[in-house]
Amino acid sequence: MNRRTLLGGLFAAASVPALSACASGITSLDSQGSASGGGGSSKGGVTIGTANFTENQVLGYLYAAVLQQAGVKVKVRPNLGTREIVIPALKSGDIDLLPEYQGALLNYLAPKDNSAEPGTMQNALTLAMPGGLQVLPYGQAADSDCFVVTRETARKYGLTTLADLAKQNGKLVIGAAPEVKKRRVGAIGLKDVYGVEFKEFKSLDSDGPLVKGALKKGDVDVANLFTTDTDIAANDWVVLSDPKNLIPSQHIVPLIADRKADDRVRKALARLGNVLTTAQLTQLNSQVDNDKKDPEDVANAYAKQHGLA
């Protein structure tokens, strides 16, 4: 359903890739050096895989649209599943390219890394990348975790940043998916970094009907959602800002096999990354989720409209 499920699927397997990532960190740097010199080739066509949630599919079709425009033959294999499935598929050559998220990918490859700033994360990702794979420059759109309150709650308690929550310690109830209770980007980090203590933690769902329903009805005061959720703007909810960078950046970043990363592919994806904004991506997600449009049509229409295809 969303990025968190994708990420969650990996904890069981996380230790193995993390080990192999350490062992191959150096090799991967080398291979990235040679790839940028034209080591890969997209001549035989590029197979794009996507994970099993709307936004990732939209991104996959956007990649397809811009690559086609650049003259690369593409095939999309949507809805493959969680990161547990798609990353092995990328390594084995079943797919060549995958839309990823900085923070979630870094957490998969190097769970102990607490980098949160986009540039630092990009370096950390490059270091942690297993051999044969590389990340291309990140785009401006990001789908991050965020903590939101209703407009009334924000006004009543004077909340604009996560730090403001600490002034209301013991008063507010937070609603989030169960794993957020034990996550750094969750109850633990809010306490360590901002000194926030909630009255109660209500285990609901991950940016789904339960947590949003509870926020609307006032059953919870603070909810953990994703920045690309259209309901945030629709309900005039307030996203609390994160001055101390607790929440890792989740800029969208193409994860690609070295063998296909040639200049044509790099340039086309970089152009898309520079054009697509978080607000636009949110809008595209909404067209699929709320207006029930086909993700491929939505992506193609966007690419055409912005001169990318």
Partner: protein
């Protein structure tokens, strides 16, 4: 696999896991509380309904099918629906559990009533017994073993399903299943599931023993 079961053993036997608000003892108590209350509410609805349609022989088709509808409803869907309509409380959980339990109670009560030998019923009427006397002194005692079976079935189903309370932030043994899944802590998931299965089986054994003891003078 072996490792998993070894860790499960450690999880279940560690004293620290049994105490505190998130401890097994507390979660178990919550789970039993949800299950018993839901079954009681379901009995308060299902028993009179089953007895009524069994006694009068009217409306059986409608009542049985309507209550079976409850069994066909997807429980989690029902929880979300009531939640969205009414907000965050135990109400959605009880609605879903009661909907699940009522059919077993109604159908078994009705089956018990229809299994009463018509000759016995006629004889009771022939001796001048009134309707309510026939119901409470003849039909109900004769139907009791099947009614008990219905209650037992309902309780077991409810115990096994009461894990959904955790889906909407409440307690019970489902807490371990949902939290464990979300945190990829398989030992916790398995521990919760095993505990639910064990108390379901234990309750079933307890009630069937009780049933056998109460009706020990009866054949079949």
């Amino acid at each position: 696999m072996y490792e998993l079961f070894k860790n499960l053993g450690t999880w279940l036997t560690s004293g620290a896991n049994w105490t505190g608000p998130d401890g097994i003892a507390h979660r178990l108590a919550e789970h039993l509380q949800y299950s018993l209350l839901a079954t009681l509410i379901a009995a308060a609805i299902g028993l009179p309904l089953g007895l009524l349609i069994g006694h009068t022989g009217k409306g059986a088709f409608v009542a049985i099918n309507l209550s079976s509808f409850g069994r066909a409803l997807p429980t989690v869907g029902l929880v979300v629906l009531v939640f969205l309509a009414g907000g965050l409380s135990m109400l959605p959980v009880y609605v879903a559990l009661v909907a699940l339990a009522v059919p077993a109670i109604v159908t078994n009560t009705y089956a018990g009533m229809t299994a009463v030998d018509p000759d016995v019923r006629d004889a009771a009427r022939g001796q001048g017994m009134r309707g309510h006397q026939v119901l409470f002194q003849i039909e109900l005692p004769l139907a009791l073993p099947l009614i008990m079976t219905g209650l037992r079935l309902a309780l077991i189903q409810v115990v096994a399903t009461a894990t959904i309370a955790a889906y909407v932030s409440f307690g019970g043994l489902g807490r371990y299943v949902f939290d464990g899944l979300a945190q990829r802590d398989l030992v916790q998931v398995l521990g919760g599931a095993v505990l639910v299965a064990v108390i379901a089986v234990l309750l079933d054994l307890l009630l069937s023993t009780l049933q056998r003891f109460l009706f020990r003078h009866r054949t079949a």
